[in-house]
């Protein structure tokens, strides 16, 4: 590729490739914080699950398994479509890149829709601590600890996913529209993809924590 075809790097970088590598390292540095953030939350869960295994098992049995499973499928599929969009960007296939990104965004919204419906069912079932909560038979006083974790963890995850959807929309409506994502420089899309897949990884751990306890 002739040098004239490459976009000019920002002033602090020698080359556009260096700028892209730095952007990737930047998102990984951010994900260190996110790993500790969600890791601490999940550790707290394990601590209390260890202390109150029976109460947690009884409480977790009331979570809506099909919603959690459907959301697992939606999220992992959205990670695939995000990667396919980055591949298309690398190959200079603009239409395919946009199409895969739109599908990724739609899957993100689908996740939130399913989650919203699940929250509605939880509300009807009086499983919302402080707002609408009722101790179910067998849960004891520790059941509320499970539900507190459920709401905090899934709520924080949903906020992260909303941020991801916002970033995808920013790519679609600003960067790509202005022709700033090219085969020569698609690092911003790559960075969004890494973040999106991390949000997916968080769900891979929340899924067994929340939905698979006390089923047998």
């Amino acid at each position: 590729m002739p040098d004239s075809a490459l976009p000019r790097p920002e002033i602090q970088f020698a080359t556009i490739a260096q700028q892209g590598d730095t952007a990737e390292l930047g998102i990984w540095a951010f994900l260190i914080n996110e790993t500790i953030f969600f890791g601490a939350l999940i550790f707290t869960y394990f601590l209390y699950r260890n202390f109150y295994p029976h109460e947690f098992a009884v409480a977790a049995k009331d979570t809506v398994l099909w919603c959690g499973t459907l959301n697992f499928l939606i999220l992992i599929t959205s990670s695939l479509t995000m990667v396919l969009s980055i591949n298309a960007a690398a190959q200079g296939e603009r239409k395919a890149m946009i199409l895969w990104l739109v599908i990724t965004c739609a899957l993100g919204f689908a996740f939130l829709l399913v989650k919203g419906y699940e929250y509605y069912l939880d509300f009807l079932h009086k499983s919302v601590p402080i707002v609408a909560y009722e101790i179910k038979p067998g849960e004891g006083n520790a059941g509320i600890l499970f539900w507190a974790f459920y709401w905090v963890a899934t709520g924080l995850h949903a906020i992260h996913l909303m941020a991801g959807i916002g970033l995808v929309l920013y790519m679609l409506l600003w960067r790509i529209r202005r022709g700033l994502i090219t085969p020569a420089y698609y690092a911003p899309l790559e960075v969004v993809g890494i973040y999106w897949s991390f949000v997916d990884v968080v769900w891979l751990f929340l899924f067994p924590c929340i939905y698979l306890v006390g089923r047998s």
Partner: protein
């Protein structure tokens, strides 16, 4: 203008295989929840989660390939997490009154789900 495509971004098949592998592992995880294998269920389930994470990290998050410094960044998150876990457990394991009395002798509860099927 001829485009030189990054070879790691030229094919969709590895990503599709990775996606299928994560779903299959998720299915295994889901299946163990109903097998009644006691303490092995969460061990297998979180084992599956770790394998799925490795697939997503290496393949989807493109940990494989330059810049190799990414590996250090990715690993350091888990490294500091181990510190956090270790220090927290040191604290909890030396506390008086832990685990709480109700947790030390949990009641046997065989209550069916209160939620209508």
């Amino acid at each position: 203008m001829r485009i030189e495509v990054d070879p790691r971004r030229a094919k969709a098949l590895p990503f599709a295989v990775g996606w299928a592998a994560v779903i299959v592992l998720g299915g295994v995880s889901l299946g163990t929840a109903f097998l009644g294998i006691g303490v092995w269920a969460p061990i297998i389930q979180f084992g599956m989660s770790f394998i799925q994470t490795v697939i997503v990290y290496v393949l989807f998050m493109r940990l494989k390939g330059p810049p190799s410094l990414k590996w250090i960044f990715a690993a350091s998150g888990f490294f500091w997490l181990l510190f956090l876990y270790g220090i927290t457990m040191t604290d909890y394991s030396n506390r008086r009154g832990w685990p709480p009395p109700s947790a030390a002798a949990p009641p046997v509860l065989e209550t069916p789900s209160a939620r209508a099927p």
